[in-house]
Amino acid sequence: MSWRLEKLKSAPKSRALLFRLGAIVFGLLIAGAVLGVLGFDPLAMATQALGYTLGSSFGLQDLGTLVTPLLLTGLAAMVAMRVNLWNIGGEGQFYMGAWAAAGIGIYINGPSFIMLPLMFLAGAMAGAAWIALPAFAKARANVDEIITTLLMNFIALLWVGYFASGPWRDPKEVITASTFKIQYALPEWFGIWNIGIFIVLAVILASWVLFNKTVWGYETSYVGANPDSAKYAGIPAGKRIITTMLLSGAIAGIAGALEVSGTVSRLQVGISSQFGYLGIVIAALAVGSHIGIIIAAFLMGLLLNAGIIFETQGLSLHAVIALTGWLLLLVGIAQVAAGYRLVRIPPASQKPAG
């Protein structure tokens, strides 16, 4: 008796969702088993991590600082996927957004209600500028955006490093290279989260409206789903692709601006904590859905926060990064597997004579 895979004519959405959830549960179980073998108590660790993260105001605060930027970097990656492109440069756009916002925050004086919007605007523009070159190269000459957006990240990292350790450096900071403190901060909300989370949710809502409720969104989704049909439809695919990419960069840039105006209050080299790259993971988990971005960013925030707690118990933070990679791998497999089913082949009977 043997088994084999057979492709389904069409896989219903509920089946795909079920497979993805199953993959996450399965992945967590395996991870728990591995921890168990290594001598940890996975059940106690999970309860403790969840209890702290969701059950205390410190925990919720930590969760908020993680989820807020992840929502935006996840959205940035997903927006690019709408036109079938990969924005691997979320990390660099995040850094440039943070850089532009910090520059304004440090060197321009004015009332907060003008300065904060100005910082966000500067962040968005810097993020868009950072993806402009890859976007034009893609639309005009079909240069692979995966390579170009990725390479721009390293430039951004060095750029910020130069400013944080050179011209903008706060000489009183001796441990890490960091700029002067930025005097403008987002107001807090119930003393736990700053209002950045609402800005983020508004951006997500605006993106949803843009892609689902406007003529521009219809045209962009259409040429994104089939660029070959753009000429037939009479939709200028190149323009739509460039605009969407710039939008994606701007969103990642806003995440950077949010980080310096809300959480960190300074520009420093480690300011992103991989948020740009984790955004790609979140977008992949969300599979094109705005609600999916919220769920995936929340899950990712929980995992990262749990990782910080596990670190105090002797587990490396890298183990949690490895766990997210493991979960993503399983979800990717589940997504493909949902399109197949297993069929049993009865024991081989006799072959024809001759």
């Binding site: 084999r4 003529v215 009479g234 024809p352």
Partner: protein
């Protein structure tokens, strides 16, 4: 070996997909030395059945017997080893390889180390063995569709095939090439092989087969000797009701205000490789008129349709639609003038397959009221309009939210025809609109096109089915190497005249 000897017997084959019964209790006996036609509408279960027979799918119930012995195929190579081979509608050849290389590719009898001389000699031997004329050193890319098909047949026969399945083999051939294919199939039959001939062209099936099995909704409706069959009976069996194919009324009755809608003057265009695709084309179509365009595929049909609809630039010449010069306009501006376009490759250029049916249905109307106002797109309206179109065009789909890719080819074609007819107030450019459709779907599509003509639109109909062109068109233009080599009035056009023009013989006819 008697004619009654069974080659492959399917006994009660059932194959289900979640929610769909593709084949139900299918029993067919394919005999040695017969050409057995398998007829059925799109979605009747022909492809699934052949996928079971060639080991690609595993059936859920029933058995397969080869020469009386039960067999189980775990995979496709089991079926090939059991002597079952298939020539697919879209050839599985590597175009950049020579004929000899293609013949020896993926074949366990090909030695590990081979020379060009060996390949050539071995290919010649194979061609001779099966009596098929192929040039071993020619590159597949340079061959005509008919020649490629011959290579494909030799390749399949070389694997020891006793049961040869040919899927829609005549779709890409000229009438002359069809006759030579039929000769080959008859010779193979005489050698004792079994031919399973899949088609939806009734005339052809009656011409070539010994017996015919008709499938409808996954079940066998009848297996009959060809002598007992007529076109009418077959169409009735396939569709389940009477289908009326009469010669369409030429020219609508109320054509008093006939005027010129489309005019092409001295239009020249080059293809993507820079070669001349259209050469000094002059054409004119009036309102209430259907102009058929005949020609072997690849002689400028695609470019002709694309320069008219604004998808392809012209190098010289003028195009007027309804009196307006359009040669410099884009596809959206031309569509807005009331020009519909059913493209050759619907899934590649006419649809975004991953988007829902609704988004695809409104491609020509999303920018107008009631679907939008200002920058806002009303997706609820889009769903309502799409549901209306789906109902009117009789598109079979669970709802308008499923990805368009999930629709069968016939349903995709009905939807695109509906979408384009809705805007075609002046001109409808239809490129191979009936390709791959079954009789029921063809009937419905013809009605849609005729309805446009009767409403006063001009129709440009590109087709490879000469009978269809003769039945529907008022005039027939023939393309050869990008030139219009003749325009015939339908009354004086015959298959022979068109066939000669298609082959490149220019005859002095009025243009």
């Amino acid at each position: 070996m008697t004619k009654q000897h069974s080659a492959v017997k399917l006994d009660g084959i059932t194959k289900t997909f979640p929610g769909v019964i593709a084949n139900e209790d299918v029993s067919i006996d394919f005999r040695k030395g017969e050409i057995h036609a398998l007829l059925g509408e799109n979605g009747a279960g022909k492809s699934t059945l052949m996928n079971v027979l060639t080991g690609i799918y595993k059936h859920d119930g029933g058995s397969i017997f080869i020469e009386g012995h039960p067999v189980e195929f775990a995979n496709a190579s089991d079926a090939i080893n059991a002597g079952i081979g298939m020539v697919h509608q879209h050839f599985k050849l590597v175009k950049a390889f020579t004929v000899a290389q293609n013949l020896h590719m993926g074949w366990d009898k090909t030695p590990k180390w081979i020379s060009q001389e060996f390949l050539k000699q071995s290919a010649e031997d194979l061609a001779q063995e099966f009596g098929l004329d192929v040039d071993p050193e020619a590159y597949v890319d340079d061959l005509s569709a008919g020649e490629q098909q011959r290579v494909e047949i030799v390749r399949v026969l070389a694997r020891g095939t006793q049961v040869l399945i040919v899927d829609e083999p005549t779709a890409v051939l000229t009438p002359q090439e069809v006759q030579s294919l039929f000769k080959v199939l008859r010779a193979l039959k005489e050698s004792g092989r079994t031919i399973i001939f899949i088609s939806h062209k009734l005339d052809e099936v009656l011409d070539i087969s010994d017996r015919i099995t008709v499938l409808r909704r996954g079940k066998v409706v009848a297996t009959q000797n060809v002598a007992d069959m007529t076109t009418r009976k077959l169409a009735n069996l396939m569709v389940g009701r009477d289908v009326v194919f009469e010669r369409m009324d030429r020219r609508s009755l109320h054509d008093t205000d006939r005027r010129e809608i489309l005019r092409l003057q001295n239009v020249t265009a080059v293809n993507s490789a820079g070669a001349k695709a259209l050469d000094s084309v002059d054409l004119s179509i009036n309102s209430f008129e259907i102009l058929g365009v005949a020609g072997v595929a690849g002689n400028g049909q695609r470019e002709l349709s694309e320069v008219i609809t604004g998808m392809h630039p012209t190098t010289t010449g003028d195009i007027m639609i309804g009196g307006e010069p359009t040669a410099r306009l884009g596809a959206d501006a031309i569509a807005k003038l009331g020009v519909g376009h059913i493209p050759e490759d619907r899934l590649k250029s006419g649809f975004a397959g991953d988007l829902p049916v609704s988004a695809n249905a409104v491609l020509r109307s999303y920018a107008n009221a009631p679907l939008s106002s200002g920058p806002w797109y009303k997706d609820r309206e889009a769903i309502r309009v799409a549901e209306e179109m789906v109902a009117e065009a009789d598109v079979q789909t669970p709802d308008v939210h499923v990805p368009l890719r999930n629709l069968s080819g016939g349903n995709q074609q009905r939807l695109i025809a509906k979408r384009e007819c809705r805007i075609a107030n002046q001109l409808l450019v239809a490129v191979y609109p009936m390709r791959g459709l079954d009789v029921g779907a063809v009937e419905r599509l013809r009605e849609m096109i005729m309805e446009r003509r009767d409403a006063g639109a001009a129709i440009l109909l590109v087709s490879e089915e000469l009978d269809e062109l003769l039945e529907m068109s008022d005039r027939i233009a023939v393309l050869n190497h990008g030139r219009i080599v003749g325009v015939l009035d339908a009354e004086e056009a015959t298959l022979e005249k068109i066939g000669l023009l298609m082959g490149g013989e220019t005859i002095g006819l009025h243009a």
